[in-house]
């Protein structure tokens, strides 16, 4: 019999895969890179999954030694299982199946974790205040209650969305936000976008909240660099629509926040 078909090998491999997956999830949880993939509120499920995977993996331990007195029972059950009840529920792993099952862990280890950034922006809808947008009324209220300087990019989008003419209504308000830099083709040398991805569930549903920033040295900033932008809002035009533009007074490079995404 081929190595892969040996029952003991099958059990050992299955247990190892499950433990490996648990370990992979644990390392991502421990170093905080889990938040590169999923919304914070799902963290608890990942913790439960780690516990569950370990428990399931343990159930594959060899039963022969520990249950010597019951060996007859087990045999009986084994035969019975083959006879009538569930002869086809015992799934065998092939080499191909094995390769596929370990693929996420291998990819995750080989390619260093990194949150979505400028490279992902070309594919996505960019939320700028010029578009109407339905949001939770509670989120709008929460954003309205925060003082201007405490609002993050998503709060600002919420605040803008509640106003029929955001460009004029918010003119002169002070802004202090953190985000990564993206140079859109539609912007000139003295402008850039400061962005955060918002993630409802996992990064598959991510889209971007953006503010257009006017800053004379905008061109010197690299895509994906994390910056803190302080300035005031002024009415402006982007891509034919009027919207509030952030006229920067200070742009400081900062480290990437622990949670690179914002959660609605």
């Amino acid at each position: 019999m081929n190595l892969i078909n040996r029952p003991k090998f099958q059990n050992a491999v299955k247990a190892l895969i499950l433990l490996g997956l648990a370990l992979f999830l644990y390392t991502r949880l421990a170093d905080g890179t889990l938040f590169f993939y999923i919304n914070q509120r799902f963290m608890i499920y990942t913790v439960l999954a780690i516990v569950g995977l370990v428990l399931v993996a343990i159930s594959y331990r060899p039963v022969g030694r520990q249950h010597e007195p019951n060996a007859h029972d087990l045999d009986h059950e084994h035969v019975h299982a083959h006879d009538a009840a569930e002869p086809h529920t015992h799934h065998r792993l092939t080499w191909a199946g094995l390769a596929l099952v370990v693929l996420p862990v291998v990819l995750g280890v080989l390619i260093p974790p990194r949150p979505l950034g400028a490279a992902a922006m070309e594919n996505r809808e960019i939320n700028i205040a010029s578009q109407p947008r339905n949001v939770l009324p509670a989120a709008v209220r929460a954003a309205a209650q925060k003082s201007s300087l405490d609002r993050n990019l998503l709060d600002w989008l919420h605040a803008f969305s509640a106003s029929p003419n955001a460009a004029e209504a918010f003119a002169g308000e002070p802004v202090d936000v953190v985000g990564f830099v993206y140079h859109d083709e539609r912007l000139d040398e003295s402008q850039f976008m400061v962005n955060r991805f918002i993630v409802s569930c996992c990064v598959a549903d991510a889209n971007v909240v953006t503010m257009v920033v006017r800053w004379p040295d905008g061109a010197t900033l690299e895509n994906d660099a994390w910056v803190r932008v302080e300035g005031i809002l002024q009415p402006g035009v982007f891509d034919g629509a009027s919207l509030p533009i952030l006229s920067a007074q200070r742009v400081t490079p900062v480290a990437m926040p622990d949670q690179p995404y914002l959660y609605p």
Binding site: A49, G52, H80, A85, H90, V101, P113, S200, N207
Partner: protein
């Protein structure tokens, strides 16, 4: 463990893999062919994804970033779905060991329509999302569950369950979208379940599942006599081992599905989809396509849909909320672990068609 060397390996996750050959002699060659086809398909997909990088000549750093984005998104879908798939597998393992086959026989209706309706509301008892429901349904089929009940359960459970109802309520409040989502998910699931009652298990289920299904149907009565009652701890261990087998079996489809979904996101940009149109018909199609490509878990897709509620027609948002939980890239790949390919095609097409009709009808008659 329990190895049956005469059975070919159930590892056909590649949609392009050839149909099972009849003779056992061709097994090695078939496996080789399957490998080659899968590799070729993978290579083609990679070329397709990174075609623009090569053409635009933006060089290796850019390529690397794209790969990183692809890996991040596919791992995102995977990591988010693993807990739910594991929960479903553990439920499935517990059902395998602790639920008596005769119970299904005794308590569930035999007739197709009542059966489908019961299946449509079973999600209230088993609150599982679209990843967790697949192993549970497979196990229930192996316990002899009638086809129509299982199909209706499979399609309805991701929406008609307390967790998803709560998240939909908190996103949209009490209103047309909330009620419409639940009512139409139930109706579509029942209709599709009812249609499937016309088919035989052999036509719909994979041979392995079907065999167990048939055994369970016929063996119901003598099953009770000679089942040895092992100690409780041992039965738990056994159900966890079965859960592990189930998990490892289904996770392959999940992995393939999450990578496919991530690739599709690179190929079909969200912005391109959303730019297509706003009409009462086109908007519905766009939102269905988006639901299929995004493959977001049904427990939170309401919050995502909310973002589109302002710009898109109500019918199309409803189509997103009804169709997405039933069928998306990752769940349709997972269906391949339970059903025949043709049945999977029907399982994708029928809900798509019905939810499309629903969305268009809503737009034309109830309002945008």
């Amino acid at each position: 463990m329990f190895v049956d060397p005469t059975r070919p390996a159930p590892d056909d996750i590649s949609p392009a893999a050839p149909p099972p050959a009849d003779s056992q002699a061709s097994v090695p060659r078939r496996q080789w062919l399957r490998w080659a086809l899968t590799l070729a398909l993978g290579a083609l997909a990679l070329i397709a994804i990174f075609y623009d990088v090569v053409v635009s000549g933006q060089g290796l750093p850019y390529l690397y970033q794209r790969i990183q984005t692809f890996v991040t998104i596919s791992l995102g879908i995977f990591i988010e779905a693993v807990p739910f798939l594991l929960a479903g597998s553990i439920v499935s393992g517990l059902i395998a060991v602790f639920v008596d086959q005769s119970a299904i026989d005794r308590y569930l209706p035999k007739a197709a329509l009542p059966g489908a309706m019961v299946g449509g509301v079973m999600g209230i008892v088993f609150p599982v999302c679209e990843c967790g429901v697949v192993p549970v349904v497979r196990r229930l089929y192996e316990k002899g569950l009638p086809l129509s009940i299982g199909i209706a359960f499979l399609l309805a459970a991701p929406v008609v369950n307390p967790v998803v109802m709560l998240s939909t309520y908190s996103a949209f409040g009490w209103g047309a979208v909330f009620v419409g989502r639940i009512v139409f998910s139930f109706l579509i699931a029942v209709v599709v379940g009812f249609l499937f009652s016309r088919a035989t298990p052999e036509e719909v289920l994979l041979p392995a599942v079907c065999q167990a299904h048939a055994d369970a149907c016929c063996a119901v009565h003598d099953h009770d006599h000679h089942q040895p009652k092992a100690p409780l701890g041992q039965r738990f261990t056994q159900s966890f081992t079965l859960a592990g087998d189930d998990f490892l079996d289904m996770v392959r489809y999940l992995i393939a599905g999450s990578m496919l979904a991530a690739a599709m996101q690179t190929l079909v940009p969200q912005s391109a989809l959303l730019a297509v149109g706003q009409g009462p018909v086109v908007s519905v199609l766009v939102m269905q396509a988006l639901a299929f490509v995004l493959s977001v878990c049904s427990t939170v897709d309401a919050f995502l849909a909310l973002a589109f509620a302002g710009t898109f027609t109500t019918g199309s948002v409803l189509a997103f909320l009804v169709f997405g939980p039933m069928v998306d890239i990752k769940s349709s790949l997972m269906f391949l672990g339970v059903f025949q390919r043709r049945a999977v095609a029907y399982l994708i097409l029928l809900p798509m068609l019905l939810s499309m009709l629903m969305g268009i009808w809503w737009n034309l008659n109830i309002g945008w």
